[in-house]
């Protein structure tokens, strides 16, 4: 990997999702492709949920952050549906960061339509209950831990069906 590519990736690991502070767009698996043509950069990203209202902010934040690299003249950011995002794209670092933020990461194994177990991000108990599949953002649910008596959130599992 070129030094420039490494630098860009390092920057992307610092750009947080506006609705998930402390979790970077890189660790959420939203960066699909980075093209570097001398001093011009094109980043292709995949949106998490289609109706996510944060996309414009993410585009702005990524562009701004990458353009701060002294050698970069211009950075274009495009969203593509060519590569559907699924919760499997979240990195291990991303999963740990989500937990720190009080959000349980999505399950590793999940079949659409089937029940799934959510572990409390605070005490790791599986004695939890789903209070509302829908939470403060499209990608999150609201749960309650019967063990440590804390409310918490979880990322909804989203995987391809066809």
């Amino acid at each position: 990997m070129s030094d420039h590519m490494e630098e860009v990736i390092a920057v992307l690991k610092q750009v947080d999702d506006p609705e998930l502070p402390s979790v970077s767009v890189f660790d959420l698996g939203m960066v699909h492709d980075i093209e570097i043509e001398k001093y011009q950069i094109k980043i292709t990203m995949v949106p998490t949920f289609a109706g996510c209202p944060a996309l414009d902010f993410i585009e702005r934040d990524v562009k701004r952050a990458v353009e701060q690299l002294h050698w970069v003249e211009k950075c274009d950011v495009v969203f593509s549906f060519q590569y559907p995002w699924s919760t499997k794209a979240i990195t291990d670092v991303g999963k740990e960061r989500l937990k720190k933020h009080g959000i349980a990461p999505p399950p590793d194994q999940f079949k659409p339509g089937e029940a799934w177990t959510v572990y409390c991000p605070f005490c790791n108990s599986d004695y939890t209950s789903m209070e509302n599949v829908f939470g403060p953002t499209a990608c999150r649910s609201i749960l309650y831990c019967m063990n440590c008596r804390n409310p918490f959130e979880a990322m909804k599992p989203v995987v391809a069906q066809v």
Partner: protein, 195 residues
């Protein structure tokens, strides 16, 4: 046949005509359902429902936006204008989906009917799933990918309304009666969605 880009689609007049017609139907149906849903904001039966319903509505509006974007790429005009500035007679959504939530308006004395909403959204989401499964095999690749993406999210919407209709139909006499009346109505009027 696989059509990969808007430019390719535009080469064939019959194809582009059929494609834009389908896209307008998909876009306008999602748009009007999300519009009627948005009118419940703050008025849903309880706060958890308000969170859930507004999330579903926001996401459904996002789906409409994706279709309008595909239309924009095909040269039909700006997505925002397609969504907001077309006249009633140009809209391709089903009339049943337009039906007002109840009497009054959002701001003045809203007397909305939850039974209508539960039945309408349940019917719509069942239909949307079937339609999306078909569209997921579309020859127009940009549409195929959008449909596959929406299907991944829509499963939560359908599950939500399925839960509501199941609970209400097994609830009090009043709930049963009101749900049943709206089902009879939907049975008569929903055909428009398939047209």
């Amino acid at each position: 046949m696989i059509v990969k880009t808007a430019a390719e689609a535009k080469q064939d007049r019959t194809y582009i005509k059929a494609l834009t017609e389908l896209l307008y139907q998909l876009a306008d149906d999602d748009f009007i359902v999300a519009y009627r849903g948005s009118e419940w904001l703050g008025l849903a039966p309880h706060i958890e429902e308000d969170v859930a319903f507004s999330s579903i509505t926001q996401n459904t509006m996002g789906h409409a936006f994706m279709y309008y974007q595909l239309l924009e790429e095909l040269g039909e005009g700006e997505a925002d204008k397609l969504a907001h500035e077309r006249q009633a007679k140009e809209r391709r959504n089903a009339i049943y989906l337009e039906k007002k939530n109840g009497t009054g308006t959002y701001l003045e004395n809203p007397q909305f009917d939850w039974a209508l909403t539960v039945v309408r959204h349940y019917f719509y989401e069942v239909f949307k799933k079937v339609k999306l499964e078909a569209v997921s095999t579309s020859s127009y690749e940009p549409l195929k990918l959008v449909a596959q993406k929406i299907l991944m999210e829509q499963t939560y919407h359908l599950a939500h309304w399925e839960l509501w209709i199941t609970q209400l139909i097994h609830s009090t006499k009043e709930a049963k009666t009101r749900i049943r009346e709206r089902i009879v109505e939907a049975w008569q009027e929903f055909g428009d969605c398939l047209n």
